[in-house]
């Protein structure tokens, strides 16, 4: 597998949210606004790339039996870095994401990639995998949160850390509150997965016919 294909599989073919349905809890909780989704996705991407590289580099010297504690220590190092950097430079985003930043330690996307990929592949491939999976999740989060932010609050692209109030589309009193509640999150996710499956099926059907 080349660098490019290891990278691109995380975006579409093996997208952690839409294809593997991993990390549902932070997905539901942080896809309320594009700023949250983007922040969460990029934080996780940083952790994923870092932990994938280190775990891959250490895979020859890591004893099989205690690999999980070692993964946790490596991942937790990067999570702490993200946590402190975000608290210093993006305080309001840090406050909104709250417990979900420390919880990246046990995020199953990151664990799945460490266990299923980085532990068995070289450093460059692991870097590509981490980058692709991380950005795939970021894209999924941004897509979900764009829909939920618009329908649930009537405003999009609000970035409180940069003092940007967002684009006002319609009045908040007309917004459907349920979309930013958990059931709305699951329904939006389900409809998006259905739409993507439909598009993929149509494409493969056309490829077969053509």
């Amino acid at each position: 597998m080349s660098f490019k294909s290891e990278f691109s599989k995380g975006i579409v073919k093996e997208n952690p949210t839409f294809r593997m349905l991993l990390g549902m809890c932070p997905t539901m909780a942080t896809s309320l606004a594009i700023s949250n989704g983007l922040g969460m996705g990029l934080a996780a991407t940083f952790v994923l790339v870092g932990s994938n590289i280190i775990i891959s580099a250490l895979r020859k010297v890591t004893p099989e039996k205690i690999r999980i504690p070692i993964f946790v220590v490596v991942i937790a190092t990067f999570v702490t870095t993200v946590d402190l950097v975000m608290a210093a430079f993006l305080p309001s985003l840090h406050e909104v994401l709250g417990i979900f930043i420390p919880l990246i330690v046990v995020n199953c996307i990151i664990f799945a990639r460490a266990e299923a990929f980085a532990f068995q592949h070289g450093i460059v491939d692991s870097l590509a995998d981490g980058l692709g999976m991380g950005l795939g999740w970021t894209l999924a989060l941004c897509g979900l949160s764009a829909i939920r932010e618009l329908l649930g609050t009537g405003t999009v692209l609000a970035f409180p850390d940069f003092g940007f109030p967002g684009i006002h589309v319609f009045d908040q009193s007309l917004a459907a509150v349920m979309v930013i509640l958990p059931p709305g999150g699951f329904i939006t996710l389900g409809l998006l997965i259905g739409l993507l499956n439909w598009l993929t099926n149509r494409k493969s059907k056309r490829a077969q016919e053509g």
Binding site: S173, V177, M178, P183
Partner: protein, 317 residues
């Protein structure tokens, strides 16, 4: 036996002439008294709401079936019934576009994504209402007095008011029985008049479309539980959406058990949930959620209440 004219086929051997469109049009007919009462008490706005909800439900069903390449079955009136039921359980002053969105949600999410008529786990109209209540709580809890007030009713200055259940729960004011029975109270478009609902229900029972088991066990349970907790059972039967829910929502063929014993268990379950929500829940009214929760339990209830086959012997453990 060749040429004897006998055809061998597998069961079922009995056929009925009753079809889905017939039952559904009878349900619409049975809802007419409640609809008329809604228009009488809340004006033409109620009529517009019904038209919008029915229209958007039917159009949604037709468009989705067309797009997905299935046979278009809007002529069985089931989408129209869903739309009409939704219109009856929303406040009269709800903006029409919100009603339309609720209707679309009912058909598209609660019915179509589950596979269409006969496949849905939850009652689509109630899912529509639950969705609207969660999405637009402000619009969904804005009530007003009916336009035809009785002369002996207290005159309030404000146009907006609260439903009898809200008045009871938070202010301990009890609406008179006569008002509750005829419908001169604030509430959803179709739930205020107990008389109109009972007329329609009597027609459905007379036609044999619904069995009496679910509504009776439902209503009796609410009465018993509220009486046990020291409340007025008759008030709890007449107020809110209990009668409409018990006769028209809980008896939905698709989402309620088919076994006779199961129907009684289901009714009791609905009743206990509604009474508990009304007495201790965060909301003043619990008919919608009570029925939806029991919808989820329907398959389980049916599984444990399958009637014994003729000649079947109880297994000895």
């Amino acid at each position: 036996m060749e040429g004897s004219g006998l055809i061998v086929s597998s069961s079922p051997h009995q056929h009925t002439t009753v079809s889905t469109p017939m039952i559904m049009s009878d349900v619409i007919l049975a809802l007419m008294p409640a609809c008329l009462a809604g228009v009488w008490f809340f004006g033409l706005k109620a009529l517009f709401m019904m038209a919008v909800c029915v229209g958007s439900a039917v159009i949604t069903e037709a468009v989705l079936q067309k797009v997905s390449g299935r046979p278009v079955t809007v002529r069985d009136y089931s989408a129209a019934v869903t739309g009409l039921l939704l219109a009856l359980v929303v406040p009269p002053d709800l903006p029409l576009w919100i009603g339309a969105i609720g209707s679309i949600f009912s058909i598209a999410i609660a019915k179509f994504t589950f596979g269409g008529l006969g496949q849905n786990i939850f009652n689509p109209a109630l899912i529509g209402r639950a969705f609207l209540l969660a999405s637009w709580p402000v619009f969904m809890t804005k009530w007003r007095w009916p336009i035809h007030e009785a002369s002996w009713m207290p005159k309030f200055d404000a146009i907006t008011t609260a439903t009898p259940l809200v008045l009871m729960k938070y202010m301990n004011i009890k609406a008179p029985y006569a008002n509750l029975f005829f419908g001169q109270v604030a509430g959803c478009i179709g739930e205020t008049s107990a008389l109109a609902i009972l007329l329609g229900a009597a027609y459905l029972i007379y036609q044999g479309h619904i069995s009496i088991r679910i509504p009776i066990s439902f209503i009796c349970t609410v009465a018993v539980v509220t009486a046990l907790f020291g409340q007025d059972p008759l008030f709890h039967i007449l107020a809110g959406g209990l009668l409409l829910g018990a006769f028209f929502m809980a008896t939905d063929y698709v989402t309620s058990p088919v076994t006779p014993r199961g129907q009684i268990i289901y009714g009791i379950g609905c009743g206990v949930l509604v009474a508990l929500i009304r007495l201790y829940g965060g909301y003043p009214e619990g008919v919608c959620y009570g029925i939806l929760i029991m919808n989820a339990a329907t398959a389980l209830v049916e599984r444990y209440t399958i009637p014994r086959k003729f000649g079947e012997v109880k297994k000895v453990a």
